[in-house]
Each structure stands twice: as C-alpha cells, then as structure tokens.
Symmetry: C2
Subunit: 154 residues, 2 copies
DNA sequence: TAGTAAGTGAGAACCATTCCAATGTAACAA
DNA sequence: TTGTTACATTGGAATGGTTCTCACTTACTA
C-alpha cells in the first residue's frame, strides 16, 4: 500500500496534468509509482484488492490509457499476450527475458545522451517530429540461463 | 509479385534455416523480402491474392511465427491493434507515427555500434544473455505534421 | 449549492490470434 | 519411382485481452 508521501506526490501529478482526481486514478497511479513490477491489468486489479475491491477492468484500462496519453506511463509487451504498464518517472529501458517474460529496468551513465542522439538522428533522417522512444533488449535472464542449463549455478 | 532473383534468394534462406519449403512459406517470404511496408497478416493475405488465393490465415500466422522464431522477421506494434511484420535482412530501426501509424525504416552510419554498445552495457548491468534488441522512435510523420497544421506545406 | 461534463462499472461485443482435427504434402530412403 | 512419415495447411471453433455501451455517479466550477 502506498505511503503518504506517494499519495501526495501522485495527487500533485494528477493536478499538474489537469486530470480529474478520482479515487481510482489516484490509487492506480500510487500503485504504479510504488511498484516497479511492470504489472498487467490483472496484476493491478489483484494488487488493489483491499483498497478498491469493486473496481471494473474497464476503469483500469481507461485510466491506464489516459496515463499513457499523458506520457506518465508506458506500455510494454513481453510476449505473454497482455500489455504491461510502467510508471516512467525516471528514464530507463528494459531487458526482457525471451523465456519467462521477466522485465527488468536498465540504465547507465550516458544513456540519456544515447537516447537524445538517437532521436536527433531520427528526426534528421525521417523528418518525423519526435515525441519519444522505446528501447528494449532481449535475452535470457540469469534465472532462465540456469534453468536451461546454459549457465552453471555457482 | 516477386522477381526470379528474390525467389532464388528466399529459397536459399529457407534451406539454410532447414525449413520445409512449401509454396506458402516461399511466397510469403518472397513477399516480405520484396515489400518493405511492414504489413499485417491482412495486408499479406491481400497482397497474395493472385498467387495464393485460398491461403488460410492460420497458415500466415504459423508461417510468420516460424520466421520470427528463426529471427528472419521481427514483429512490430504501431498501436492499431494488429501486429506488423518486417523482414529484417539488414539492421535498422523504426520511426512510428503516433497519429497515423506509418512505420519507416531508419539507419545511419554508426548505428550498429550504438546497438552493440547498448547490448554490451545491458549484459553487464542485468546479467541477461542478450539475443537481440528493438529500438523505436515515436513522433509525427511529415504528412501528419501538415495535416494537423503543425508544419506548413511549402 | 447547482449544473454539467466527465468518470465509473457490469456486461456485451469485438476481433486478432490460437487451437483443433482432418486432410495434404515435402523430404528422405529404399 | 514409390512408400513412409513427420510436418504443414486449412477452415472453423475457441480464446482472451481490450473496447464499447449505457445507466449511474461524481468531481469540478461558478
Ligand atoms: Mn520499467
Ligand atoms: Mn523495417
Ligand atoms: Zn527468464
Ligand atoms: Zn502520420
């Protein structure tokens, strides 16, 4: 459950984006800010069990789509058939396991420059007016390497 | 419709990957090699009208999934609800229009190094055994910039 | 506090993709 | 060539994540 500080922070975020502050939006955003699990709609619904036991899936979808429109949240596909959501407070990209679907955050000093450079180059070459980017790297997570006998567990 | 050269090339690609050479696979692969439209399954089915009028969608899905497994083809989402497919003969990434969904190929000298660096950094930081990556840049395509009155058409 | 535009929720609808079982065929060996 | 067999194709049914609908509720503004 989200701390007081998170509740205040998320309240301010909603106001800054001129979004109507409903309990549903507030609690979902707080959930996303305090969990970095890249949850699906089902995961979120379960996680909200105590605070919003009667929330409809439509509301979760609506809310997340709104957040995506406002660039608060990004959507991720890991190949399991459902969309994963990620509060994008600080820039990072994702490593996704092709075996189990595990998604982990990655960043490194200089990543923002790589990112800016990619966007600048793309604008020049394509004529697009750039608004964002997604970078994803695929591979086997450490656990799956062991599970599949590719790496020894020592 | 695909040239002789393309048909020979794709035949060899299928053999190299030890894939059974069926007319469906051969023609679908030739279609992908000779079109860079990032088609959906529906687009492909329409494009195959004359050559394979009775192909089942299941076959197209099966074939594309096989190609994806063999890293011949990559999947792309542009937000229109269906998956787009791209023969990935030479490395590039994509600029995707957030307004109309248009997908264009982008690359530049030094892109492969950016890519390798990203994968190396990711392996170090995450412990993943890297097998690939996707980079996408989002924005408004030149046409939509005009359509939306953001850029003048001069 | 009243008016109103916007959000919520239950269930139906949608539709891209997968599954299934019957039929067809590519690859290989004799 | 022919026979064998494992794999591919097909159409139709099933699946399931997401969107739609609409009656009801609520957050904002004046
Ligand atoms: Mn993340
Ligand atoms: Mn492409
Ligand atoms: Zn894994
Ligand atoms: Zn466009």
């Amino acid at each position: 459950m989200a701390s007081n500080a998170v509740m205040e922070e998320t309240l301010q975020v909603l106001k800054d984006h001129k979004l109507r502050v409903t309990p549903q939006r507030h609690i979902i955003l707080a959930y996303l800010v305090s969990h970095h699990n890249h949850p699906t709609v089902e995961t979120i619904r379960d996680g909200l069990g105590k605070e919003l036991p009667n929330i409809g899936s439509s509301t979760i979808y609506n809310t997340l789509n709104t957040f995506v429109d406002h660039h608060l949240v990004v959507e991720l596909q890991n190949g399991d058939g459902s969309t994963h959501y990620d509060y994008f407070g600080s820039p990072h990209y994702h490593a996704i396991c092709t075996n189990c679907g595990r998604i982990v955050d990655v960043t490194y000093p200089g990543f923002d420059e790589t990112e800016r450079n990619l966007e600048k180059k793309t604008a020049e070459l394509s004529g697009y007016m750039i608004s964002g980017n997604h970078m994803e790297v695929y591979g086997l997570c450490p656990e799956c390497q062991i599970k599949l006998g590719i790496k020894s567990n020592d």
